[in-house]
Symmetry: C2
Subunit: 594 residues, 2 copies
């Protein structure tokens, strides 16, 4: 592997040169020239470098010109074609109702869609008849794909390990063959914990531009995947813009769009409408889809005495459908057919927990765990069809009931990746549910959840704006990293150590550059001690020059360095050093300029 470093915009260093301090985008190469894994390289004032995982895509590489109207380069395209198991085809014709438009113009078709994505048209691609073209199928055959090697480099493990984890169903590598723009990533408990950010307009608010902006903004702060949960007009077109510009896998809930097509009438949903929507989205390149196939008719009564009934949108839609028809849902009865469709595009299942608890009172109840057992059966079927699968989890769960969720899911679902929303550990703090859930997220990830779906401060209250997206992502990156530490993930603590070293040595700029959010850390520091020299001052802004404990501790180490070594002569050495200390004038505090 070699390191290729992109130029840093801030300091104007020339190509190939590293900046003195700050950070820049670098790449780690694999075995082939077109396999370049992005990293964030932080250059410290002490001459050392720290390499961090990077999700921000080409947007942070000043050598790459990006244009949201053209979309990102299809970096995976050649890999997909070279495998020779897929074919281009005409694809499903687009229809006005794909964007929630009911009236048809005389000429019909795309002309009715608002703000059509202007980038190059691309024929959709699918697996040749009967062949799953999934990373799972390749792994099961013992093949190591370029995507697997990519994530091996990214996670600092062997490609064989990646392949084996995917083959066992313990990890998924969501990568639709129609989304060649992504930088491959992996979701599994034996890899770094990942974070998903939800975006999406609704009937009430938001626009296409805002959603694309939220996607790039979320990945800039560390989102590993993004779910587009749009529900209003322009669903198809919004998704197209998001997909063509996204360096991370995109997830959706196809049911939302299908429901729009039947004007919001759940009981009018059919397998045909749903299937058509799944194919529409698979052709666009959606990498994973939430499917609420575990909501069975007989489980609905189990929610009747709940505090908050069914809080999953997909779950409540399917429950309404089941009741209206008094039969099992088309998602359940057509599940194997659905598997074959997903296998032809390598869409990953995210089996939705439609009966997840929506309040502390409803956590870990019969409805929730009944559905989980069904998800376990569906997971086995999906794997048999070669479809990668992860399992969604709650929700609202008090701390003492969290571990049972992971343990049961791992047991029932043969260690398939768990993908949880929070969980929120209390219901009493609307406007702070990023925190109520960040607590639960850190714990559930420590115990084995592979990906965390973020919750923003607007949860339960409104749609997140740009600031909320950032707060949600940062909060969940904290939870994910805290879990990586607790799991003893190799290398996780290097980041903490680098930052703590910088803190102890008063290298303020290094602290900021290593922080999850350098901008806010710097701004908070400057609010108390705005002067530039303060950033190199040997004291903290909390305590002032005389009281800083870090400084006193450093002084102790400097004055007593040798004697502080823990050895047999420690006491004797200390006595001697004590005299030296007195002889030197008992100086505990060195001048600030020191």
């Amino acid at each position: 592997m070699t390191l290729q470093d992109a130029r840093t915009p801030e300091n104007g260093s020339t190509d190939g040169e590293k900046p003195q301090i700050g950070w820049h985008k670098g790449y780690v190469s694999g075995s082939r020239p077109d396999l370049r894994v992005p990293v964030r390289r932080v250059h410290l004032t002490n001459g050392k470098d720290v390499t961090l995982y990077d999700t921000s895509g080409p947007y942070t590489d000043p050598q790459i010109e990006t244009d949201v109207r053209r979309g990102l380069a299809p970096v995976r395209e050649n890999w997909i074609i070279a495998r020779g198991d897929t074919e281009e085809y005409a694809g499903r014709p687009l229809r006005p109702e794909d964007d929630g438009i009911k009236h048809t113009s005389p000429r019909g078709g795309l002309r009715n869609l608002d703000a059509v994505f202007p980038g190059r048209p691309r024929q959709p691609r699918r697996g040749r008849a009967g062949t799953p073209v999934t990373q799972l199928a390749y792994a099961q055959r013992g093949e190591i794909t370029a995507e697997m090697e990519y994530v091996a480099v990214r996670e600092n493990v062997s490609p064989e390990f990646v392949r084996d984890e995917i083959a066992a169903g313990r990890a998924v590598l969501p990568a639709n063959i129609n989304h060649p723009e992504i930088e491959p990533m992996i979701i599994g408990k034996n890899f770094l914990v990942k974070v998903n950010a939800n975006i999406g307009n609704s009937a009430v608010t938001s626009s296409i531009e805002e959603e694309v902006e939220k996607m790039t903004w979320a990945t800039r702060w560390g989102a590993d995947t993004v779910m587009d949960l749009s529900t209003g007009r322009n669903i198809h077109t919004t998704r197209e813009w998001v997909l063509r510009n996204s360096p991370v896998p995109i997830g959706t809930v196809p049911l939302y769009q299908a429901l729009e097509k039947v004007d919001g009438k759940a009981e009018e949903l059919t397998w045909e409408i749903y299937k058509d929507t799944v194919i529409e989205q698979a052709e666009q390149g959606v990498d994973y889809m939430t499917v609420h196939a575990g909501v069975l008719l007989r489980y609905v009564p189990l929610t009747a005495n709940r505090k908050t009934g069914i809080v999953s949108r997909g779950g409540s839609i399917m429950a309404a459908w089941c009741l209206a028809h008094h039969q099992e849902s088309f998602l359940y009865t057509h599940f194997e057919e659905l598997c074959d469709i997903l296998a032809a595009y390598d869409v990953t299942f995210s089996l939705g927990d439609g009966l997840r608890p929506g309040s502390i009172a409803d956590a870990n109840d019969a409805a929730q765990f009944a559905e989980l057992r069904t998800l376990g059966e569906l997971n086995t079927i999906a794997k048999r069809h070669g479809v990668q699968t992860m399992i969604e989890g709650p929700g609202h769960v008090p701390m003492h009931k969290i571990k049972e969720n992971v343990d049961l899911q791992q047991e029932i679902c043969e260690e398939a990746p768990f993908y949880t929303l929070g969980p929120l550990t209390t219901d009493i703090a609307p406007a702070y549910d990023h925190i109520t859930s960040g607590i639960g997220a850190a714990m559930i990830a420590w115990w084995g959840t592979a990906m965390l779906c973020y919750v923003t401060p607007k949860e339960h209250l409104g749609l997140p704006d740009r600031d909320d997206v950032k707060t949600g992502v940062i909060t969940y990156k904290i939870a994910a990293h805290a879990a990586d530490l607790a799991k003893g993930h190799p290398g996780a603590q290097e980041w903490d150590d680098a930052l703590s070293d910088a803190r102890f040595e008063f290298r303020w700029e290094d602290q900021f550059n290593l922080a999850l959010d350098p901008d806010t850390a710097r701004a908070f520091h400057d609010a108390t001690l705005p002067a530039e020299p303060a950033k190199t001052a040997h004291f903290c802004s909390m305590c002032g020059p005389k009281f800083c404990s870090m400084k006193i501790s450093q002084d102790i180490r400097r004055e007593h360095g040798s004697a502080l070594a823990v050895d047999a002569d420690a006491e004797a050495g200390m006595a001697e050093k004590s005299k030296e200390f007195a002889a030197a004038g008992n100086r505990v505090y060195l001048p600030i300029a020191d």
Copy 2:
């Protein structure tokens, strides 16, 4: 017990009447007329009431006129006098250096102090010679004080239980006899988890007014105690203003002021200067004091190879003193004398963890646990002297090392209340350390910590302002309540249930009024759906009218209510109900106006 309700300012209802909705200050009476325990009474639109613990003091009672220049009424004064075991005395004369003022005016004394507190002068009070006047001593003798009854009402337990927990040393009731203004509260693992907020000016920034304002602001949002960690000028006077206006116990670190008196030269500290400072603060009414008596000379070398040395200010000062003198600290060698002083005022010990880890790398190391064992010995000595004692804890600890901290502390310190700072579960997120630590705080409280010391977003970066104080308190109230839930504390879940009921029934105003922070919850909701009718609309602002899962779920319950009961006839009932549903037009969505 009877309920006395104060008038609500917002709705102008007359005395004794309850408001229709919103909240107001109420009181629960004990066995004597002067024992009135404040509560926050939330009145819901469905006619129900929810009673919540209230820390905000007389400031939120419109029937009480407060004036920070006069201070709060000494509600405990008669109780203290009636016990007949204390005496007033002249007290220690105030000196300019108490406020960090070095030059002496010709007339000396108080005239040199800035902004002297103008309220009524009060003679200090102390226990008659040789008699500990502590809640611990009373409890050990089997007495139930008015303070114990007060907290029994407040915590909804029996006075005998309170007495027994205090007598066993498992709980403390910090209540200096010179701080008669407080509303008594209790800290112990078998009571509600408490939250402390730190305030305090420093040499660098802040003023007296700001600190008093921060104290009332912190208690308004739920701080159970406040520590005044001032270090610059006006330490004595700032503390006087804070104490006279504080309805909650005030903690300090006397070492900070003592160090100011020797111009910041740690090695010049003496037992006499320290003792004089402790008496000064005890006469003012400080309720608990952090004492770093566990930093022994032989432990200092254990920190030499740490990533971040000694990060506790008190710990580093005492370590420097030990090294300079090459002997055990005066805190350790005079510990029994210190106990006798604290016993004469009922000041509670908060035995400081001067060697707590300041980074993930240093968690649970030899230095930390060596000091903990010494704190255990000191705890036993303090109890023998009748002094209430709690033990401070870390710091920076990754999730998988948190539980060991509580378990060891509980074992070594005979279940004395644990009082922890966070812990922060990762070092990588300066500017978000309320969250990195909120995660650890919730967990450590679940496992047995009795009080959590908050961390604000400015931790490591600067001094918290008003907004930071609020964010820190709310974050820690979340952690404390999440722990109360996980511990199965009786009644804790009622709050969550009330809010979740309101959420499920679209009672938006009730949701806001029940929220930990009603203002922000309401503002966030209004940002998406500002119109007043939206607050009663039967859909959420996230999903719009058609998609709201809560609404679908409610509709299901309404249409199928009887059939959804989980009984033997469920299936049959559902089939029948399904027909009814179809007959009613398959309406899944009812009109919004419904």
